[in-house]
């Protein structure tokens, strides 16, 4: 397919700008102007519409089909949440408005929404307060790590290190490192949990905190979690909860009750906002009482009369981490999702997410290796290994591509790093039994062909607009832009 620039015809126009209604044009000094106009495409509106419609057909979203991308919680994105986020009262509200004298009273709906969202997420997670400012999950992790650093600085603690299990998302160590910490990786044991001996050995007074996700990236709930929290608290360390996997627990178990002190959520996972093909996300951060003073500036507060205001006078705050109040448009969608589901609905979300995952977990066990003890249920996702198929040359990546030919988005592959040939499957609660059965059948069919005719699987995908792309060439001779 041609690049949009290759479709350009000199002199062709799409949108016409409004004409200036003031008398004289301003002539800015020549040395301040660009030498030539930017080489933007010259197209009609229909040209543009056809180009992007064609591109959209070369994409695969949840609306196209089953998307069991483990750890990403690709559930259905309700259309009503899109609709309400476009209400002019939200979309056209200028963020500087509440910073004007008297301006707070003109944005009470927005401040109220942010405050109600804080209260709802705090209840769901067992935290004291949430900030909505972080603009993605990893941004939330960084915010959390900065809060941990501010807490220790305030107490005069000399802390240098964050402990992170080897099964963690790559963002965990990356985020903690750019908050100034040394990272110590703790190996997992044969059960798939953080090794307790290694953890105890690493737990020195220099430990500022531990980053964990629960259930972990293997989809398993760590039975030692409370013990870990108690041990960390004993050295005045803080427990960080990576909320990527909260879809397993809503209404069943709260991170705050387990002993976590600071956490982020991915609204584009658990709370049904779309991922947008790579954002915008939203990564609200929740904290327990003792960390509330360190939340980023500003904080939405309620007056006694029920009106809301922004508190900027927070001497212990980590300061500004976003220009304003976070990815507000995303928060609007997640709030609509929460009030639509309600108490019972959120409980059922997690129950059905776990049910769907266990159904796949059980049905695929005869066909794929499971390298951990299978005596316990999984939570919202399960991680198989393609090591059995790899013996005949069919690797996880080949199974992924064969699934593409069968109309599915593949699971997450090669993550977590501790499982060889990992395939991490997360069906989510919004998928039906028929969809799961058809996917299971496809996986079984692929497993069988892998034995009898592995070349057929290795040749996949054969139905897509492009076949296997040369990633080595892309990295060695980077072509990152079409320059005019």
């Amino acid at each position: 397919m041609q690049l949009i620039f290759e479709k350009s015809v000199p002199g062709r126009r799409a949108v016409r700008n409004v004409a200036s209604d003031v008398a004289e044009p301003v002539q800015i000094a020549k040395n301040l102007l660009r030498a030539k106009p930017a080489e933007l495409p010259e197209l009609s509106e229909l040209d543009v519409v056809r180009h992007f419609t064609e591109l959209s057909r070369r994409n695969f979203g949840v609306d196209n089909g089953f998307y069991p991308l483990g750890s990403c919680t690709m559930k259905y994105n309700a259309k009503v949440t899109e609709r309400v986020s476009h209400y002019p009262g939200f979309a056209y509200l200028h963020p500087l408005m509440p910073q004007l004298p008297g301006g707070e009273m003109l944005v009470q709906g927005a401040l109220g929404l942010l405050h109600k969202m804080d209260r709802a997420l705090s209840e769901i997670c067992g935290m004291s307060a949430f900030t909505m400012q972080p603009m993605a999950g990893a941004h939330g992790e960084l915010t959390g790590a900065m809060i941990i650093a501010a807490y220790h600085r305030d107490k005069g603690n000399k802390k240098t290190t964050i402990l992170i299990p080897d099964s963690a998302h790559g963002t965990n160590p990356a985020s903690a490192a750019i908050a100034g910490y040394k990272i110590q990786t703790i190996p997992s044991n044969s059960q798939g949990f953080m090794d307790m001996d290694a953890f105890e050995k690493a737990l020195t007074p220099e430990v500022a905190g531990v980053f964990l996700t629960c259930p972990n990236t293997l989809g398993l709930f760590n039975p030692n979690i409370k013990k870990i929290a108690d041990r960390v608290h004993a050295v005045d360390g803080l427990m960080y909860y990576d909320g990527a996997n909260l879809n397993a627990l809503m209404g069943h178990c709260r991170p705050g009750d387990v002993g976590f002190d600071v956490m982020h959520l991915n609204l584009h996972k658990t709370f049904g906002t779309p991922h947008g093909g790579g954002g915008p996300g939203a990564g609200p951060v929740g904290v327990v009482e003792k960390l509330v003073p360190f939340l980023p500036t500003s904080v939405v507060c309620a007056h006694e009369d029920g009106s809301y205001y922004l508190d900027y006078d927070r001497p212990k705050s980590i300061g500004y981490i976003a220009p304003f109040y976070g990815n507000f448009g995303v928060i609007v969608k997640a709030y609509a999702y929460i009030i639509m589901l309600g108490r019972e609905g959120l409980f059922r979300v997690s129950e059905n997410a776990v049910l769907n995952a266990n159904y796949i977990f059980r049905k695929l066990q005869p066909y794929f290796d499971y390298t951990l003890p299978a005596d316990k249920p999984c939570k919202h996702e399960c991680v198989f290994s393609a090591s059995r198929q790899a013996k005949s040359g069919v690797r996880a990546v080949n199974i992924a591509k064969a699934l593409i030919d069968r109309g599915y988005h593949p699971p997450t592959i090669y993550f977590p790093l501790i499982i060889p040939e990992a395939m991490m499957i997360e069906p989510t609660e919004t998928e039906s039994k028929e969809t799961l059965d058809a996917f299971i059948e496809a996986m079984i069919e692929i497993a069988k062909i892998a034995e009898t005719n592995p070349e057929e699987i290795i040749a996949a995908p054969v139905t897509t607009v492009v076949s296997h792309l040369d990633e080595t060439r892309a990295a060695r001779e980077p072509d990152l832009a079409s320059l005019a």
């Binding site: 004289e24 106009p37 930017a38 080489e39 519409v49 963020p95 750019i178 039994k433 990295a475």
Partner: protein, 446 residues
Amino acid sequence: MPFIANTDEQRRQMLADIGVANAEDLFADIPPELRCGDLNLPAGLTEQEVRYRMQALANRNRTGMVSFLGGGFYDHFIPAALDALVTRSEFYTAYTPYQPEISQGTLQAIYEYQSVMCRLTGMDAGNASLYDGGTAIYEAIMMALRITGRRRVIVDDSLNPIYRKMVRSYTTNLGIDLIETPSFEGLPDRARIEQELNKDTAAVIVQNPNFFGRIDDLSDVAELAHRHGALLVMSVYPIALGILKTPGEMGADIVVGEGQSLGMPVSFGGPYLGFMTTREKYVRKMPGRIVGRTVDAQGRSGFVLTLQAREQHIRREKAMSNICSNEGLCALTSLIFLSLLGKEGLPELAQVCADKASYARKRLLEVPGVTMRFPNKWYFNEFVLNLPMPADRVTRELLNRGIAAGFPLGRYWPEMTNCLLVAVTEKRTKQDIDFLAHALEVILCS
């Protein structure tokens, strides 16, 4: 239950196949003392109720005002075709394009986005987006530290004060020597910057048009920085680049900015779009996702995420940034916006904004007691007025008359309590401007 497909009968079958009596058994691995009771939340609502509830909240926000608020976040016109395309769910319900064969739509769009941002800024390469204009500056600083191996950064105070606060927060734990140089008459003070430059300096950070709306040729600042082995990081307003000299022409090394003006509503602060472009030689030091063009097994052109060895999922704590999800859909939005405007349309739009702002300046200066804060030279679509009384008071009174007149600068510059930052876009009419001037006159003269 909304959005849960399985019937009770299906759930029973599935539980039987799994080999458990009920769904509760699937949670038996959670120690009982860690289970929670019912959440203290209201019961769920129907779609109709949700829409009513959300509309009621939206109605409590005043968005119908005549607004001259800007400060880096601008109210530009958004064509209908843009909404129609960006709301295609093949785009917005997809994840990050990890599987290139079924993600060519997102990948090609991001490659085209990187291309238009390079063409606009006059640079060689860009990434797939960052969260917003402020975090983009922080990422540019980190990138400059990686490139130069130095620890000192000079930030000119005509950079958006909100971004300066963000940079301060992010660098607190990193042992960076952060210097703020006071601007002179609303422009970066060259002599002061030169004084602060030394062999430890990684970068000089400037903005054009700057927060006061002033435009400048920063080529000499680039030369100054380069003479000391430092990089020039420039934050820009992409609409203005329709006509203004590009950072590339001025010799900038890293260009960042807030892309909200390219087709996104102001949306109470987000989602926005941080963009970044740079010189070819620094490509491997850039943070974030990058899309590259390559070929498939049949020699067909195609697109992939590339240079991933920089990223957190490979390098973990040694990654160049922790960023994972960025603002992909906003990048797509800006690409569609620029495609609809086109080569002739963008400069035309920029000129209309400058023309209307010029008229507004002239008209507002006719109000007795109103002067320009800085010597009246070159501006794009925003400028700072000096009022004969505190700008807070004037702003409050104008709000009561349905006008958001601009942003009083006293909040960030205590010595500028009488100063008001006024922004004009193509959406403001001559009538709006006259209305503001008239209302201002009434307030100042009463």
